[in-house]
């Protein structure tokens, strides 16, 4: 590595930082005013790029290349802003009063729908845009050639930062944004039309994201993976910079981009006889930046401590142990599931499907431990599923360990990951917790994708077959049923134990729980670790069940599946997630895999749930036992 290549990469880092900043700034402004974390924010970035690569050639044919290119970018930004306004009016307005989790889910459903709509409109192939007229060359710089467009992009970030700064400080619209960020209700009480302001702010935020996406036209092709990858990066930037701080967003974007660029510039590094390919470590570097910042400044570089968030909606009814009827139903279900192998003769598919359901049940129940009693909605539970699955697969194939031992290795891997990531996550609550867990899950996914020597890259690990007696469909199914039942019993006991009471107390009132001597962060950390470990067990079972594991199986889609299972069944009961897991597994098996657009379908289902039951599914159902 030379000084020149370092400098070269540094300029590159500035160019990347601009893109990151544009997404994160919009996310931050929208959250500040509307208190909604827009999970679909990356989708607007992606749409901006798709619109630009479509508009630029169209406009170029009429008005010439230069006007086409820049007009395409401007047009894409404006169309994205208009789409944002439409989304705000049609969707968000209905969910401002809904619980946080529902808002996150609704905007995530939007992400799924936009992705499938993009697939439908533009097809699955990457689309390359035209080069920037006048900026397609390169500048000779210290013996290296710096693309002119990268220099241009590097300048755009600070320019937009300055523009936003002036907008916020010097205009009435900016004053309104700052005032509403602090106290929306008072802004309305002063006679300002809140609804209009929200629409304008959402259009501004999504327009900036679309602008950021469109600017990438000359740098990278439009592709369908952009929405999630950009969202994950934007979350890291926002958490590092401090939610609500535009300046923080730029500094954090620069920090993250430069550290990544540095890793790329370092290339192969030899330390103590071992050779590391630093360019592969860019994602780990991102994680390390976030870790260091959060340890030193838990609210981000320019963030402020979050005010204690009052829980919206009514207090949850206490959980009640099962009555006699309940016990009988559970027993009957257990007998039924234990008897499934007997059905194998008539319906050979039954044990296979039942295995999927059992694994989903353990996955959903482990997530529910955090979401229900813990009150912490994780948007990255797939991480621990993945760690468990990859740990098991690696131990079974590469290390050649016997099945039970390989399974234990998987659980231990998941436990280690949950302990490490959990330490950071439990410092945050609400949407911040959701964002950080999603970011960690993206990191685990990327590591699985990139660390080919261990994870097999995008192909994953194959030939993960269990030893006898687990090698038959029935054998594996019964073992999985046993593991799942054990896990469920453990969760149940924990929830009713003093530990569970402490967890629920912390959920209902963190301050009062702390004042009563409960170490809230420790209790939550332990819950996070237990949930992660049990989720890892589900992942290990999954690896054996499928005989393989690939990054696809541990993508953010799995995290969302878990959330949908818990919500479908009802977050207020311990049995709910099990019903939800069974229901969604059946649904996916029967309907969704039939269509290439099943993700969009899932999104529509989520939207329906959220719009029909805006205060939670449980509110739509008659209260059962324990109701006052």
């Amino acid at each position: 590595m030379s000084f020149e290549s370092l400098l070269f990469q540094a300029v590159n880092g500035f160019a990347s930082a601009s893109g990151l900043f544009l997404v994160a700034a919009g996310l931050s402004i929208i959250f500040g005013v509307t208190r909604i974390v827009n999970m679909a924010h990356g989708s607007f970035y992606m749409l901006g790029l798709y619109l630009a690569v479509t508009l630029a050639p169209l406009l170029g044919a009429t008005f010439g290349g230069a006007l086409g290119f820049w007009g395409g970018i401007l047009g894409a930004a404006l169309v994205t802003a208009a789409l944002g306004a439409l989304v705000e009016v049609v969707l968000l307005r209905r969910i401002y009063a809904a619980p946080e989790l529902y808002q996150l889910l609704a905007t995530f459903a939007l992400l799924l729908i936009v992705n499938d709509a993009t697939l439908y409109l533009w097809g699955p192939e990457d689309i390359l845009g035209p080069q920037a007229p006048g900026l397609s060359g390169a500048v000779e710089f210290l013996g290296r050639r710096l693309p002119e467009y990268d220099i241009f992009l590097a300048l755009i970030g600070p320019l937009v930062l300055l523009g936003l700064h002036l907008l916020l400080k010097r205009t009435r619209f900016g004053r309104l944004i700052r005032a509403a960020t602090q106290d929306r209700e008072m802004v309305a009480a002063l006679g300002i039309n809140e609804a209009l302001l929200f629409t304008a702010v959402f259009a501004l935020g999504t327009g900036i994201a679309g602008f950021g996406g469109a600017l990438q036209m000359a740098r990278e092709p439009a592709n369908l993976a952009l929405d999630l990858s950009v969202l994950g990066d934007a979350f890291v930037v926002v958490v590092v910079g401090g939610m609500g701080s535009i300046r923080g967003a730029y500094v954090a974007a620069l920090l993250v981009a430069e550290v990544k660029a540095l890793c790329t510039a370092l290339g192969l590094v030899e330390v103590g006889g071992f050779t590391f390919n630093m360019s592969r470590l860019t994602l780990v570097a991102e994680f390390l930046v976030m870790a260091v910042v959060l340890v030193v400044r838990p609210h981000g570089l320019f963030g402020r401590p979050q005010p204690a968030q009052a829980r919206r909606g009514e207090a949850e009814a206490p959980l009640v142990p099962l009555g006699r009827t309940g016990r009988l139903i559970v027993l009957a279900a257990l007998v039924f599931f234990a008897g499934i192998p007997l059905l194998g003769a008539v319906a050979s598919y039954a044990p296979v499907l039942a295995l999927d359901m059992v694994i989903a049940a353990l996955f959903a129940a482990s997530l529910h431990l955090l979401m229900g009693p813990g009150g912490l909605a994780s948007f990255g539970h797939a991480a621990y599923f993945g760690l468990g699955a990859y740990g098991t697969a690696y131990a079974a194939t590469v290390l050649g360990l016997p099945t039970p031992l390989a399974f234990a290795v998987g659980m231990a891997t998941a436990a280690a990951g949950a302990v490490l990531f959990g330490w950071f996550c439990v410092r945050l609550e609400g949407v911040y917790f959701a964002m950080l867990t999603l970011a960690f899950a993206q990191i685990v996914w990327s590591i699985a994708h990139q660390w080919e020597e261990v994870t097999g890259g995008s192909n994953g690990l194959f030939g993960v077959w269990p030893d006898p007696p687990f090698d038959s469909a029935n054998g594996l199914y019964l073992a999985a049923l046993g593991v799942t039942v054990l896990g469920l019993v453990l969760i149940r006991r924990l929830v009713f134990a003093p530990f569970g009471l402490a967890l629920r107390a912390a959920r209902d009132s963190r301050l009062r729980a702390e004042a009563s001597g409960i170490a809230v962060e420790k209790v939550r950390w332990l819950a996070f670790a237990i949930a992660g470990t049990l989720c890892g067990a589900a992942g290990g079972l999954f690896a054996f069940a499928k005989g393989s594991i690939s990054p696809e199986a541990i993508s953010v889609g799995r995290s969302i599946d878990g959330l949908v299972m818990v919500l479908l069944g009802g977050v207020h009961s311990l049995m709910g997630p099990l019903l939800g897991a069974g229901g969604l597994t059946l649904l996916q098996d029967m309907v969704m895999r039939e269509s290439p657009y099943w993700r969009g379908l899932l999104g529509l289902i989520i939207l329906l749930i959220v719009l029909l039951f805006p205060s939670g599914l449980a509110a739509g159902l008659p209260r059962k036992r324990g109701a006052p």
Binding site: R175, A179, L190, G191, I192
Partner: protein, 246 residues
């Protein structure tokens, strides 16, 4: 007094926080140019009454009207634009904005045909000279009393016909209470209508014509200020009596 035209009419007002009902069939009226006190213990429902008028809590009423317009179906900002200036209990100054910017947000031109004097920036700085010297100061860096003045000034520049003042003397120094009382008397003399909630009635005694007494969300009685219900408890945090009639 009540022979004058009613500006604010409330009849049978119920209001809720979440599932909990706070107000039960409350009725009151404020006539044009009148100053009315809303007195009662901490938690009686005074603040909720004001929030219910502004549409900030869920409410239902037989009649809830301002200047002849029904407020029931209007969003908060539209209620404010009809000419109601709401000064909340905790003042809710925008801490990140300067005094000048806080005032800018409240600024609305005088409605056509209004008979009240126009509250320009200069006019409020004349009313609260202290504010004039701290135009560039951030709201978060002001004392409680200064914030209270700013909160009143911020709604005044919107040229309202009625001010809702929720506990304007709470938590501020006696000298500020005195300033505030003087300022409110000037506003009343200028023709502005006032609805003031107080636990201690000293400020109200100096300003208000009539008083409504509410306890536990229900109206307990009303009458001229001098003949107000005698069982209002003295409050430990109450400001000392205003010394002279202003």
């Amino acid at each position: 007094m009540s022979a004058r035209l009613p500006l604010l009419e409330i009849d049978g007002l119920d209001a809720w926080y979440g599932e909990a009902q706070i107000l039960f069939g409350l009725s009151l009226q404020v006539a044009t140019g009148e100053a009315v006190a809303l007195v009662g213990r901490n938690g009686a429902g005074k603040s909720t009454t004001m929030k219910a008028i502004m549409g900030l809590v869920r409410r239902r009423a037989n009649r809830l009207a301002f200047d002849g317009s029904d407020l029931a179906a209007l969003p908060t900002h539209a209620i404010a634009r009809l000419g109601i200036g709401y000064v909340p209990e905790d003042r809710r100054i925008f801490a990140e904005l300067t005094v000048r910017e806080n005032l800018d947000l409240g600024r609305r031109p005088r409605p056509p045909g209004a008979t009240l004097p126009d509250w320009s920036m200069d006019a409020v700085f004349d009313l609260f000279p202290q504010l004039a010297d701290m135009r560039a100061r951030l709201g978060g860096q002001m004392s409680g009393g200064e914030q209270q003045m700013l909160a009143v000034a911020r709604v005044l520049v919107g040229n309202p016909a009625l001010l809702l003042l929720d506990e304007p003397s709470e938590g501020v120094a006696p000298i500020v209470v005195e300033h505030m009382t003087r300022a409110l008397l000037r506003l009343k003399a200028g023709g502005l209508s006032l609805l003031i909630s107080e636990q201690s009635s000293d400020l109200c005694a100096a300003i208000c014509d009539r008083a409504y007494h509410i306890e536990q969300g229900e109206l307990r009685g009303h009458g001229p200020m001098s003949a107000r219900a005698p069982d209002i408890p003295p409050n430990a945090q109450a400001a000392p009596p205003t010394t002279s009639p202003l």
